[in-house]
Amino acid sequence: MKNTGNKQHKTQVSKEVKSHANDPYVVKKAKESKATLEKYGFPEEFIKGKMGH
């Protein structure tokens, strides 16, 4: 058990939870999100003062 912050309950940390970042479904979803955001951009309020291009 490890507390990852000031939560209402302790979040359990386990080495058995692997990263799924490279799973095909996750990669596909990431690509779709990137396409959407490159087409429509981000909410202006969120990117004010941040560097982008």
Binding site: T4, G5, N6, K7, Q8, H9, T11, Q12, V13, S14, K15, E16, V17, K18, S19, H20, A21, D23, P24, Y25, V26, K29, A30, E32, S33, K34, T36, L37, E38, K39, Y40, G41, F42, P43, E44, E45, F46, I47, K50, M51, G52, H53
Partner: protein
Amino acid sequence: MNSDKYRYVTNEIPLDFQFESDGPKGKIKKLVSYTLQNAGGFSYFNLAFGDIDETTGELNDLARSDNEDRNKILATIAATVIEVTENFPDIMVYAEGSTPAGTRLYQIGIAANWEEIESILTVYGLINGKWQPFTKNVNYEAFMGLRKKRNFAE
């Protein structure tokens, strides 16, 4: 979150949150995964949610478990968003369902937990190619959230 939700387990990073749906169809492994992405020079987390395939061990969204615990699952997903933005408060979180019905479920989840979410996050919805502040009962195409800044002087 104040709503009934599942307790989840994460890893050291922590960007993957695993929990078990428990209902009439038994226990089903679910996972919310956040991957750091970049679009137009801006970083954000993409949220992916689904079942863990018992055969491959991979995340997919093909299963429709119908385990009669929809609201509990949505509250759990919302709790992971809050936790991720607590750990990474400057990074936006993007969420979109794999289908319009899936996106609609996110809409229901945000609306159902709105009182707590809006106290912590600023949420926008994408509609007709434009981002607008989240409002209940509007069918958005995607969602974007960012942790509100705390004013420590208060």
